[in-house]
Amino acid sequence: MESVFQLLAALAVVVGTTFSALGILGVLRMPDVYTRLHATGKIGVFGAVLLLVAAILVLPKGAGKGIVLIFFLLLAGPVTAHSLSSAAYRIGIPFAKPMRNDLAAVTETFDADEQAEPQRKA
């Protein structure tokens, strides 16, 4: 039984590390902040969680802590991605390529305010 857990833990480490590496590759390859955030999300969801799963399998005594940590990681990860992308959009960081944007229609007035702001300062 012990060795089965060890094997599963090793598998989780390999898969988790692979996804983390892919996430970093994604950050390097993606063209703008919004697409990069997709790549980093993968590190949080797969990389860190799978490493914690491996830790739980090797040290079942700390399973409680591990599960709570996984829960908080899964809870907080999307919130950071959302707030970073939302903040990037609000301060007007452009997209790499022109694209369909359903949000533009509802934030037109908001954009106008943003554009007025630097003019006032200048």
């Binding site: 590759l25 390859r29 802590k65 809870l75 359903d102 509802v106």
Partner: protein
């Protein structure tokens, strides 16, 4: 006093400390009670006969979200490894299909959790403005996934 709140906090404390000595168990209960008394959480009515159905819906919800997360993860991995980097980003509006703020927030959480989609803003009536990596996926796919999530969330919250 919210007995449910005390129970949940107590269990979280025990899970975190992983120590079931009587001293620690009692200490956890005191801490849980103290926090509940200080924070005054808003009362949430729980109908005991609805609990089994809600728990079952919650379990199904976890599996539905896990499946979306896995599919999204593999999709983004494929996109990242493709030498041509065939991404077609766009921001699409996904209606949450509910006026409940909690259900909308949890839906947005599930969407953002799955790689390849990320909610950027929440507009009026629960419109979720989602940045997606692959706009070639038809909107209906996202709408269907959202409808499934919404139904389960409503079942969990015991709302019709």
């Amino acid at each position: 006093m919210q007995p449910w709140m005390v129970l949940v906090l107590w269990l979280v404390y025990l899970a975190l400390s992983a120590n079931f000595e009587l001293r620690n168990v009692v200490l956890g209960l005191l801490i849980a009670g103290g926090i509940t008394a200080l924070v005054h959480p808003a009362p949430y009515r729980i109908e005991p006969q609805r609990v089994p159905a809600a728990v079952w819906a919650a379990v199904r919800y976890v599996f539905v979200v896990a499946k979306d997360v896995l599919e999204g993860g593999l999709q983004v991995a494929r996109l990242t490894l493709d030498p041509k980097l065939p991404i077609h980003p766009a921001i699409i509006a996904i209606p949450s299909g509910t006026e409940s703020e909690m259900a909308t927030a949890l839906s947005a959480h599930a969407i953002t959790l799955s790689p390849g989609a990320m909610v950027m803003e929440i507009g009026d009536h629960g419109a979720m403005y989602t940045h997606t990596l692959d706009v070639t996926v038809p909107d209906e796919v996202y709408f269907e996934m959202q409808a499934r999530r919404r139904d389960l969330l409503m079942e969990i919250a015991s709302e019709p």
